[in-house]
Protein backbone atom coordinates (compact mmCIF):
# COMPACT_ATOMS: atom_id res chain seq x y z
CA UNK A 1 0.00 0.00 0.00
CA UNK A 2 1.23 3.50 -0.80
CA UNK A 3 2.47 5.79 1.87
CA UNK A 4 -0.29 8.34 2.55
CA UNK A 5 2.20 11.08 3.34
CA UNK A 6 3.97 10.57 0.04
CA UNK A 7 0.68 10.68 -1.79
CA UNK A 8 -0.25 13.84 0.10
CA UNK A 9 2.97 15.50 -1.06
CA UNK A 10 2.35 14.25 -4.61
CA UNK A 11 -1.16 15.69 -4.52
CA UNK A 12 0.00 19.06 -3.20
CA UNK A 13 2.56 19.24 -5.98
CA UNK A 14 0.06 18.71 -8.77
CA UNK A 15 -3.30 19.82 -7.39
CA UNK A 16 -3.18 23.33 -8.90
CA UNK A 17 -2.29 22.00 -12.33
CA UNK A 18 -5.04 19.35 -12.24
CA UNK A 19 -7.63 21.79 -10.93
CA UNK A 20 -6.66 24.45 -13.52
CA UNK A 21 -6.93 21.96 -16.37
CA UNK A 22 -10.42 20.94 -15.27
CA UNK A 23 -11.47 24.48 -14.40
CA UNK A 24 -10.45 25.95 -17.75
CA UNK A 25 -12.39 23.28 -19.61
CA UNK A 26 -15.46 23.20 -17.39
CA UNK A 27 -15.57 26.82 -16.16
CA UNK A 28 -17.29 25.65 -13.00
CA UNK A 29 -15.35 25.46 -9.72
CA UNK A 30 -17.40 22.74 -8.05
CA UNK A 31 -17.44 20.52 -11.15
CA UNK A 32 -13.71 21.10 -11.62
CA UNK A 33 -13.13 20.08 -8.00
CA UNK A 34 -15.17 16.90 -8.52
CA UNK A 35 -13.13 16.03 -11.60
CA UNK A 36 -9.85 16.83 -9.80
CA UNK A 37 -10.90 14.52 -6.96
CA UNK A 38 -11.61 11.69 -9.40
CA UNK A 39 -8.26 12.27 -11.10
CA UNK A 40 -6.39 11.96 -7.79
CA UNK A 41 -8.35 8.85 -6.80
CA UNK A 42 -7.31 7.30 -10.11
CA UNK A 43 -3.75 8.40 -9.43
CA UNK A 44 -3.87 6.82 -5.98
CA UNK A 45 -4.79 3.46 -7.49
CA UNK A 46 -1.59 3.48 -9.51
CA UNK A 47 0.54 5.59 -7.23
CA UNK A 48 3.24 2.93 -7.08
CA UNK A 49 3.90 3.50 -10.80
CA UNK A 50 3.35 7.26 -10.79
CA UNK A 51 5.47 7.99 -7.72
CA UNK A 52 8.78 7.68 -9.52
CA UNK A 53 7.54 8.44 -13.01
CA UNK A 54 8.91 11.58 -14.69
CA UNK A 55 5.73 11.73 -16.78
CA UNK A 56 3.35 11.79 -13.81
CA UNK A 57 2.42 15.43 -14.53
CA UNK A 58 1.60 14.64 -18.14
CA UNK A 59 -0.41 11.60 -17.10
CA UNK A 60 -2.43 13.68 -14.63
CA UNK A 61 -3.03 16.41 -17.21
CA UNK A 62 -4.23 13.89 -19.80
CA UNK A 63 -6.53 12.18 -17.32
CA UNK A 64 -7.89 15.54 -16.12
CA UNK A 65 -8.53 16.62 -19.72
CA UNK A 66 -10.25 13.37 -20.65
CA UNK A 67 -12.36 13.31 -17.50
CA UNK A 68 -13.41 16.93 -18.05
CA UNK A 69 -14.35 16.17 -21.64
CA UNK A 70 -16.31 13.11 -20.51
CA UNK A 71 -18.08 15.31 -18.00
CA UNK A 72 -18.94 17.78 -20.75
CA UNK A 73 -20.09 15.04 -23.13
CA UNK A 74 -22.92 14.28 -20.74
CA UNK A 75 -24.21 17.77 -21.46
CA UNK A 76 -23.13 17.78 -25.12
CA UNK A 77 -26.59 18.25 -26.64
CA UNK A 78 -27.29 21.10 -24.26
CA UNK A 79 -24.13 23.04 -24.94
CA UNK A 80 -24.29 22.42 -28.69
CA UNK A 81 -27.76 23.91 -28.62
CA UNK A 82 -26.58 26.98 -26.78
CA UNK A 83 -23.61 27.27 -29.10
CA UNK A 84 -25.99 27.50 -32.04
CA UNK A 85 -28.02 30.17 -30.29
CA UNK A 86 -24.94 32.24 -29.66
CA UNK A 87 -23.77 32.10 -33.26
CA UNK A 88 -25.36 35.42 -34.10
CA UNK A 89 -23.19 37.21 -31.55
CA UNK A 90 -20.06 36.35 -33.44
CA UNK A 91 -20.22 38.42 -36.56
CA UNK A 92 -17.23 38.35 -38.83
CA UNK A 93 -16.51 42.02 -38.39
CA UNK A 94 -12.75 41.92 -38.50
CA UNK A 95 -11.42 44.86 -36.60
CA UNK A 96 -7.80 45.58 -35.88
CA UNK A 97 -6.51 43.69 -32.85
CA UNK A 98 -6.19 45.83 -29.81
CA UNK A 99 -4.78 43.67 -27.07
CA UNK A 100 -3.06 46.05 -24.73
CA UNK A 101 0.68 45.80 -25.07
CA UNK A 102 2.25 44.38 -21.91
CA UNK A 103 4.49 47.37 -21.24
CA UNK A 104 1.65 49.95 -21.34
CA UNK A 105 -0.77 47.66 -19.61
CA UNK A 106 1.52 47.21 -16.63
CA UNK A 107 1.02 50.89 -15.88
CA UNK A 108 -2.63 50.16 -15.17
CA UNK A 109 -2.96 46.72 -13.68
CA UNK A 110 -0.60 44.15 -12.22
CA UNK A 111 0.24 41.03 -14.18
CA UNK A 112 -1.74 38.89 -11.75
CA UNK A 113 -4.84 40.97 -12.32
CA UNK A 114 -4.35 40.59 -16.03
CA UNK A 115 -4.23 36.81 -15.67
CA UNK A 116 -7.40 36.96 -13.63
CA UNK A 117 -9.10 38.98 -16.34
CA UNK A 118 -8.04 36.54 -19.04
CA UNK A 119 -9.24 33.63 -16.93
CA UNK A 120 -12.58 35.32 -16.29
CA UNK A 121 -13.00 36.12 -19.97
CA UNK A 122 -12.18 32.53 -20.80
CA UNK A 123 -14.77 31.23 -18.35
CA UNK A 124 -17.45 33.45 -19.86
CA UNK A 125 -17.02 31.93 -23.31
CA UNK A 126 -19.67 29.37 -24.29
CA UNK A 127 -18.39 25.78 -23.85
CA UNK A 128 -18.52 25.06 -27.58
CA UNK A 129 -15.92 27.82 -28.07
CA UNK A 130 -13.96 27.57 -24.83
CA UNK A 131 -13.26 23.84 -24.98
CA UNK A 132 -11.56 23.76 -28.40
CA UNK A 133 -9.74 27.01 -27.61
CA UNK A 134 -8.30 25.59 -24.38
CA UNK A 135 -7.42 22.30 -26.07
CA UNK A 136 -5.59 24.18 -28.83
CA UNK A 137 -3.74 26.86 -26.87
CA UNK A 138 -3.29 25.29 -23.42
CA UNK A 139 -3.23 21.56 -24.12
CA UNK A 140 -1.31 21.91 -27.39
CA UNK A 141 -3.66 19.74 -29.47
CA UNK A 142 -3.92 20.19 -33.24
CA UNK A 143 -7.18 21.03 -35.00
CA UNK A 144 -7.43 17.43 -36.20
CA UNK A 145 -6.87 16.00 -32.72
CA UNK A 146 -9.50 18.32 -31.27
CA UNK A 147 -12.00 17.33 -33.98
CA UNK A 148 -11.38 13.66 -33.18
CA UNK A 149 -11.60 14.18 -29.43
CA UNK A 150 -14.83 16.17 -29.60
CA UNK A 151 -16.25 14.11 -32.47
CA UNK A 152 -17.03 17.19 -34.54
CA UNK A 153 -15.93 18.23 -38.01
CA UNK A 154 -12.60 19.94 -38.63
CA UNK A 155 -14.42 22.94 -40.06
CA UNK A 156 -16.46 23.37 -36.91
CA UNK A 157 -13.35 23.21 -34.75
CA UNK A 158 -11.64 25.91 -36.81
CA UNK A 159 -14.72 28.12 -36.81
CA UNK A 160 -15.32 27.69 -33.08
CA UNK A 161 -11.71 28.48 -32.25
CA UNK A 162 -11.74 31.56 -34.45
CA UNK A 163 -14.98 32.74 -32.83
CA UNK A 164 -13.55 32.03 -29.40
CA UNK A 165 -10.47 34.14 -30.14
CA UNK A 166 -12.65 36.93 -31.42
CA UNK A 167 -14.93 36.78 -28.41
CA UNK A 168 -11.96 36.66 -26.05
CA UNK A 169 -10.42 39.67 -27.74
CA UNK A 170 -13.66 41.64 -27.47
CA UNK A 171 -14.23 40.69 -23.84
CA UNK A 172 -10.71 41.50 -22.84
CA UNK A 173 -10.75 44.82 -24.62
CA UNK A 174 -13.97 45.89 -22.93
CA UNK A 175 -12.77 44.74 -19.52
CA UNK A 176 -9.46 46.50 -19.91
CA UNK A 177 -11.25 49.67 -20.94
CA UNK A 178 -13.31 49.50 -17.75
CA UNK A 179 -10.22 49.24 -15.59
CA UNK A 180 -8.05 51.69 -17.45
CA UNK A 181 -8.27 55.20 -15.95
CA UNK A 182 -9.72 57.84 -18.24
Amino acid sequence: MSDPQQFEAFMLKYQNMVFSTAMRLLANPSEAEDVAQEVFLKAFERFDDLQQSPTAGGWLKTVATNMSLNHLTRYRSRWSFFSELLKSNDADDAEPIEFAAPDTFEQDVEQADRHQLVDKALQKLPPAQRVPLVLFHLEGLSYEQIAAKLNVSLGKVKTDIFRAREALRKRLRSQLDEIRPA
Binding site: N16, V18, E33, H115, V118, D119, L133, L138
Partner: protein, 154 residues
Protein backbone atom coordinates in the same frame (compact mmCIF):
# COMPACT_ATOMS: atom_id res chain seq x y z
CA UNK B 1 -11.88 37.77 -42.28
CA UNK B 2 -8.45 37.60 -43.77
CA UNK B 3 -5.68 35.14 -43.04
CA UNK B 4 -3.22 37.82 -41.87
CA UNK B 5 -5.71 38.98 -39.27
CA UNK B 6 -6.43 35.39 -38.21
CA UNK B 7 -2.73 34.67 -37.80
CA UNK B 8 -2.18 37.79 -35.73
CA UNK B 9 -5.22 37.01 -33.59
CA UNK B 10 -3.97 33.45 -33.03
CA UNK B 11 -0.56 34.71 -31.93
CA UNK B 12 -2.01 37.32 -29.58
CA UNK B 13 -4.45 34.87 -27.96
CA UNK B 14 -1.74 32.26 -27.69
CA UNK B 15 0.57 34.76 -25.96
CA UNK B 16 -2.18 35.73 -23.49
CA UNK B 17 -3.15 32.14 -22.68
CA UNK B 18 0.38 30.82 -22.43
CA UNK B 19 1.16 33.41 -19.77
CA UNK B 20 -1.64 32.17 -17.52
CA UNK B 21 -0.50 30.70 -14.24
CA UNK B 22 -2.17 27.68 -12.63
CA UNK B 23 -5.30 28.48 -10.68
CA UNK B 24 -5.08 27.68 -6.98
CA UNK B 25 -6.96 24.50 -6.11
CA UNK B 26 -9.60 24.88 -3.41
CA UNK B 27 -8.38 24.10 0.10
CA UNK B 28 -11.10 21.46 0.37
CA UNK B 29 -9.73 19.35 -2.50
CA UNK B 30 -6.95 17.58 -0.58
CA UNK B 31 -9.32 16.88 2.31
CA UNK B 32 -11.96 15.47 -0.03
CA UNK B 33 -9.45 13.17 -1.70
CA UNK B 34 -8.14 12.02 1.69
CA UNK B 35 -11.69 11.24 2.88
CA UNK B 36 -12.53 9.37 -0.33
CA UNK B 37 -9.37 7.27 0.01
CA UNK B 38 -10.23 6.52 3.64
CA UNK B 39 -13.74 5.52 2.65
CA UNK B 40 -12.38 3.13 0.04
CA UNK B 41 -9.98 1.66 2.56
CA UNK B 42 -12.78 0.97 5.00
CA UNK B 43 -14.54 -1.28 2.49
CA UNK B 44 -13.77 -4.91 3.42
CA UNK B 45 -11.48 -6.71 1.00
CA UNK B 46 -14.09 -9.28 0.04
CA UNK B 47 -16.50 -6.49 -0.95
CA UNK B 48 -13.96 -5.05 -3.37
CA UNK B 49 -13.38 -6.28 -6.93
CA UNK B 50 -11.23 -9.43 -7.12
CA UNK B 51 -8.29 -7.57 -8.68
CA UNK B 52 -8.11 -5.29 -5.61
CA UNK B 53 -7.77 -8.21 -3.16
CA UNK B 54 -4.40 -8.75 -1.47
CA UNK B 55 -2.12 -10.93 -3.63
CA UNK B 56 -2.08 -14.04 -1.32
CA UNK B 57 -5.87 -14.00 -1.15
CA UNK B 58 -6.12 -13.64 -4.91
CA UNK B 59 -3.83 -16.63 -5.43
CA UNK B 60 -5.69 -18.61 -2.75
CA UNK B 61 -9.10 -17.85 -4.26
CA UNK B 62 -7.90 -18.85 -7.72
CA UNK B 63 -6.41 -22.10 -6.39
CA UNK B 64 -9.63 -22.87 -4.50
CA UNK B 65 -11.80 -22.27 -7.56
CA UNK B 66 -9.56 -24.42 -9.75
CA UNK B 67 -9.59 -27.20 -7.15
CA UNK B 68 -13.38 -27.05 -6.89
CA UNK B 69 -13.75 -27.20 -10.65
CA UNK B 70 -11.31 -30.09 -10.90
CA UNK B 71 -13.12 -31.90 -8.07
CA UNK B 72 -16.47 -31.42 -9.75
CA UNK B 73 -15.13 -32.83 -13.01
CA UNK B 74 -13.62 -35.81 -11.20
CA UNK B 75 -16.77 -36.58 -9.19
CA UNK B 76 -18.92 -36.37 -12.34
CA UNK B 77 -16.61 -38.74 -14.15
CA UNK B 78 -16.68 -41.23 -11.21
CA UNK B 79 -20.47 -41.04 -11.03
CA UNK B 80 -20.93 -42.01 -14.68
CA UNK B 81 -18.96 -45.19 -13.92
CA UNK B 82 -20.82 -46.08 -10.74
CA UNK B 83 -23.09 -49.19 -10.69
CA UNK B 84 -26.38 -47.40 -9.96
CA UNK B 85 -25.84 -44.63 -12.49
CA UNK B 86 -28.36 -45.92 -15.05
CA UNK B 87 -31.05 -46.23 -12.37
CA UNK B 88 -30.24 -42.75 -11.07
CA UNK B 89 -30.50 -41.39 -14.62
CA UNK B 90 -33.96 -42.91 -14.97
CA UNK B 91 -35.01 -41.35 -11.69
CA UNK B 92 -33.86 -37.96 -12.90
CA UNK B 93 -35.74 -38.55 -16.17
CA UNK B 94 -38.92 -39.21 -14.19
CA UNK B 95 -38.48 -35.87 -12.41
CA UNK B 96 -38.64 -34.13 -15.78
CA UNK B 97 -41.55 -36.13 -17.17
CA UNK B 98 -43.76 -33.04 -16.82
CA UNK B 99 -41.70 -31.40 -19.55
CA UNK B 100 -42.70 -34.18 -21.91
CA UNK B 101 -46.38 -33.26 -21.68
CA UNK B 102 -45.56 -29.60 -22.31
CA UNK B 103 -43.61 -30.64 -25.41
CA UNK B 104 -46.63 -32.64 -26.63
CA UNK B 105 -48.92 -29.62 -26.23
CA UNK B 106 -46.49 -27.43 -28.18
CA UNK B 107 -46.34 -30.05 -30.92
CA UNK B 108 -50.13 -30.13 -31.25
CA UNK B 109 -50.36 -26.34 -31.35
CA UNK B 110 -47.66 -26.15 -34.01
CA UNK B 111 -49.51 -28.77 -36.09
CA UNK B 112 -52.68 -26.67 -35.86
CA UNK B 113 -50.85 -23.51 -36.99
CA UNK B 114 -49.36 -25.38 -39.97
CA UNK B 115 -52.84 -26.62 -40.91
CA UNK B 116 -54.23 -23.06 -40.78
CA UNK B 117 -51.44 -21.74 -42.99
CA UNK B 118 -52.00 -24.54 -45.49
CA UNK B 119 -55.64 -23.63 -45.61
CA UNK B 120 -54.88 -19.93 -46.21
CA UNK B 121 -52.63 -20.64 -49.18
CA UNK B 122 -49.16 -19.61 -50.36
CA UNK B 123 -50.24 -16.20 -51.67
CA UNK B 124 -51.43 -15.09 -48.27
CA UNK B 125 -48.21 -16.29 -46.61
CA UNK B 126 -46.05 -14.49 -49.16
CA UNK B 127 -48.07 -11.32 -48.58
CA UNK B 128 -47.52 -11.61 -44.83
CA UNK B 129 -43.79 -12.15 -45.33
CA UNK B 130 -43.61 -9.12 -47.66
CA UNK B 131 -45.41 -6.89 -45.13
CA UNK B 132 -43.13 -8.09 -42.32
CA UNK B 133 -40.03 -7.44 -44.45
CA UNK B 134 -41.29 -3.99 -45.40
CA UNK B 135 -42.01 -3.10 -41.77
CA UNK B 136 -38.54 -4.28 -40.80
CA UNK B 137 -36.92 -2.20 -43.56
CA UNK B 138 -39.00 0.82 -42.50
CA UNK B 139 -37.83 0.46 -38.89
CA UNK B 140 -34.17 0.29 -39.99
CA UNK B 141 -34.62 3.28 -42.32
CA UNK B 142 -36.33 5.43 -39.72
CA UNK B 143 -33.80 4.41 -37.07
CA UNK B 144 -30.89 5.32 -39.35
CA UNK B 145 -32.43 8.66 -40.23
CA UNK B 146 -33.01 9.43 -36.56
CA UNK B 147 -29.45 8.54 -35.56
CA UNK B 148 -28.04 10.66 -38.41
CA UNK B 149 -30.19 13.61 -37.42
CA UNK B 150 -29.45 13.26 -33.72
CA UNK B 151 -25.69 12.83 -34.04
CA UNK B 152 -25.11 14.90 -37.15
CA UNK B 153 -21.70 16.62 -37.22
CA UNK B 154 -22.11 20.33 -37.16
Amino acid sequence: MNSEYEKQLELEVNRELQQLADLPAPATLAKRVRLAIEQRRRIKWYMQPWQNWPMPLRVGALALLLTMFGGLCFVSWRLTRAAGFAAALEEVGALFSGLNSIWNVINVLFGAVVLVFKHLGTGFLLGCAAIAGLAYALCIGLGTAWVRLAFARR
